[in-house]
Every structure is written in structure tokens, then in C-alpha cells.
Symmetry: C2
Subunit: 259 residues, 2 copies
């Protein structure tokens, strides 16, 4: 039987809030199985960009990563946030080790080709190299990934943290019984965005298509859910969307994504 592995992604809202991040990391540290954490960036990069006089550019809600912005996200995601999380997990006796996709060439990406929009230094994942990741897991060392990858031509790339989580889950599901958990600000996918408790407990692909047509699922939830279904289609055993409390108590409300 394959060994169990949890791949947990936490979003920016959680990172920005010490009252959420602390308890989340406490619960993550206590998860009894092998595990990997992937973290987004939150508002800190935007705040530091502003202080440095860099004007953030957004196109269709997505940040364009200029050379200056890339330096800021590299500093903030792979430096400040990643090392703070690692040091906090270490204090909770969780032997964390922070990584970017450049480290040990774990996540190889390609600069997104310019079609209508030039996203700048944004990477689309091409390859996951699991050898060092699996070696660390075998030694009970917990990889903590920031959302920075590279192209193996010395260029670092800003990469969607949800996609990093699903790509890692797919690659590792070869050798592990993998559960992918997206923690975000809500308890799950909502039937009614006005009602925080209208959680869809299981979401199948056909239902997802319907809800998209009805515009009940929209905006940022679409790429997140696309990542979920993609992971399931490519062999990930279980995919969950919930808030940070789910890590503590799996009986709490959540959405399980099913094919």
C-alpha cells in the first residue's frame, strides 16, 4: 500500500493574518502523515512594491510580473514568508525545509508566451522533479514551497501557487496516496456566495460545468477548480477545498471535488 501524503496549499489571506497563520501551522505540524506545504504571497509583496515605488500592474485581475516585481516576489515569497513559515514550523518540532522550484530543480517552468497579454516573468509549469522531494519526505523532512519557479536558464518565474500544489500532487501521486487540500477563506465552494454556510459537500465535474454556466461559480474559483479537476484526472486520490480549520478537524464542513 502506498504511504499517505497531504499536500496543503494556504492562500494569501491566511498568510496576512498572524491570528490565522499561527494556529494553521500548529495544526499542520500535527498532521500525522507525510506532508508538503505550498504558500501563496498575500498582500506583503504589494505593500513592499509600493514602498519601493514600483507600481503594480494588473491585467484582468492578474498581476503582471515586471523585472522589478519579480525581484520583490522572490524576496517576499521565497525569503520573508517562506523562512518565517519554516522557522515557525521548526519551533513546533516539524522539520520544515523551504524550497522554491529552482531549488534542486524541483519545478521547471517556461516563461508564459506572449499572446494578447504579456504577463512578464510568469511561469507555466513544465516538469516536476520528485527525487529530492521524496528523499526529504523519507527523512521526515517537510518541504515548504513558495510560488517561485525557474526555467533552468537562470531566470526565476512567478508561478500560480494553486497550480504548483496540483502539479506536485499529480507528480507525487505516483508513489503516494495523495490528498490535495486547498485552504482558503471560505469553508468550501458555496452554492450561494451570500451565504457562507451554503457549502457544496461534493462537487462533480458535470455539476461544476452547470454552476459555471449559471455563474454561481465564477472569477477566481474557476482556475482553482480547474486545478482540482486536473489533479483528479491525473491520478490524485482526493481533492478538498476548505478553510484552515479543516486541517485540524476533518469532520468540519468542506467541499470534496470528484470526477
Amino acid at each position: 500500500m502506498k504511504k499517505q501524503l497531504y499536500i496543503v496549499k494556504i492562500g494569501g489571506n491566511c498568510i496576512d493574518n498572524p491570528n490565522e497563520l499561527g494556529p494553521f501551522l500548529e495544526n499542520f505540524a500535527r498532521l500525522p502523515a507525510s506532508k508538503i506545504l505550498i504558500h501563496g504571497g498575500g498582500k506583503i509583496a504589494t505593500q513592499i512594491s509600493q514602498k519601493l515605488g514600483i507600481v503594480p500592474k494588473l491585467v484582468e485581475g492578474r498581476r503582471i510580473t515586471s523585472k522589478e516585481e519579480l525581484e520583490v516576489v522572490t524576496m517576499v515569497y521565497a525569503g520573508l514568508i517562506n523562512k518565517k513559515i519554516v522557522a515557525t514550523l521548526q519551533s513546533k518540532n516539524c522539520n520544515a525545509l523551504g524550497l522554491s522550484g529552482a531549488d534542486a530543480n524541483t519545478i521547471l517552468a517556461k516563461k508564459r508566451p506572449v499572446k494578447t497579454i504579456d504577463y512578464g516573468f510568469v511561469g507555466d509549469i513544465e516538469e516536476i522533479n520528485t527525487e529530492i522531494i521524496e528523499l526529504l519526505l523519507q527523512k521526515n523532512t517537510i518541504p515548504v514551497f513558495s510560488a517561485i519557479t525557474h526555467d533552468k536558464k537562470s531566470v526565476l518565474l512567478n508561478t500560480n501557487a494553486d497550480t504548483i500544489a496540483s502539479s506536485l500532487a499529480v507528480a507525487l501521486s505516483q508513489n503516494y496516496e495523495t490528498t490535495l487540500i486547498y485552504c482558503f477563506e471560505k469553508k468550501g465552494v458555496l452554492k450561494d456566495t451570500e451565504d457562507e454556510n451554503s457549502i457544496i459537500s461534493t462537487l462533480k465535474f458535470q455539476k461544476y460545468e452547470e454552476l459555471k454556466k449559471q455563474e454561481i461559480i465564477y472569477k477566481g474559483m474557476i482556475p482553482k477548480l480547474d486545478n482540482c479537476f486536473d489533479a483528479l484526472q491525473k491520478g490524485v486520490q482526493k481533492v478538498i477545498i476548505s478553510n484552515i480549520d479543516f486541517i485540524k478537524n476533518k469532520d468540519l464542513p468542506h467541499t470534496e471535488i470528484l470526477l
Copy 2:
């Protein structure tokens, strides 16, 4: 016979200059043995601190690391510089993996106690944990250390990169035939600071004591050389001080430190 290991420390001057850093990393990547790189910070952290409106405090030539400064050095050393070096080494087919001392608890430090001066968030090394480092070396993965450590109570600490290099060399000399190389801006320790070519080819401890008394060796060279002698006393096989060209050609002028 023990396997050979090079532990190479590059200073801030090299990091600040792309015309030096590129060729250095090219030569480091080509070193045929197991190797570890430790990098300092250079002026980038000071520049970013200034842009962020943080006024750097120096006492007796040493930077005091306030909470705000610690955040900047964590971003710059463990994020920006570390990941740029890793991505560059990856492009040269050197399977680099960036680490701070918090990662896998590799370098445990203690916040420096306040005596006459409060250095702020500065760490003195207490313990090196080599298990994960040796595992990486066995897999031909090259650790690249930034000068950030932790206290295992969730606090990150700014730590002298020279001391990190010597402490790693001492710990790893148990299982490796270790050569510790300090690359700085000069070709070696100088007999005459006015004459760049007056390199002392071998420096023994007794001679070092004499040169200190004569004030031929002074200021920043003293803690650097103390680290060198400390490493030799604790079992490191060879200690060299030179500039970055030495990595390319070991016949070039350099200072070998001897007990």
C-alpha cells in the same frame, strides 16, 4: 579514505558585481568534488532598507539588526540573492539547493546576549545538523547557504557568513576531507595593505599573533582569520583565503592558513 568536500564562502563585494558573480558561479559549478556555497549579503540589503525608510544602525562597524532590518536581510539574503544564485547554478547544470539555517534545522543559533551592545536579531551558532546536508551531498545536490539562522523558537537570526562557513566546515570534517575557502576581494592576506601583490603564502598562528600586534592585520581580517584558525583547530583539513579566481586555478596566489 574520506570523500573530498569544498566549502566556499563568497563575500558581498562579489555578489554586488555581476561581472564577478557570473564567472565565479561558472567556476564553482565546475569544481569536480562535493561542495557547499555560503554567501554574504552585499550592499543590496542596505539599499533596500534605505528605500523602505529604515535607517541602518552601525555600532563599531557592525550592523545592528532591528526587527525591520531582520525582515530585510531575510528577504534579500534568503530570498533574492539565494534564489538568484541557485537559478544561475541550475543553468550551469549544478544541482543547487538554497538553504537558511532554519531549513531542516541545519544551523541552530542563539540570539546574542546583550552585554555592552545590543546587536538585535543577531545569532551565534550553537549547533550544526549535518544529516540533511550530507544526504543532499550524497545525491550530488549542492547546498547554497544564506547567512540566516534560527533559534528553534520561531525567531530568525542574522548570522556572520564567515562563521557559518567555518562551523559547517568543522561539522562536516567528521565525514569529509574538507577544504574551507574564503573568497574575498584580495588575492590573499597582505603583508602590506598598500601592495595588492604582497600576499602571505602561508600564515601560521604564531605569525598571525605577531602581525596583529604590529597592526599589519587589523579590523575585519581579525574575525575572518579567527574563523580560519578555529576551523583548523577543530579538524578542518585545509583553509585558504584568496579571491574568486582561485576556484578556477589553484596555482594562483593565495594564503594558506596553518596551525
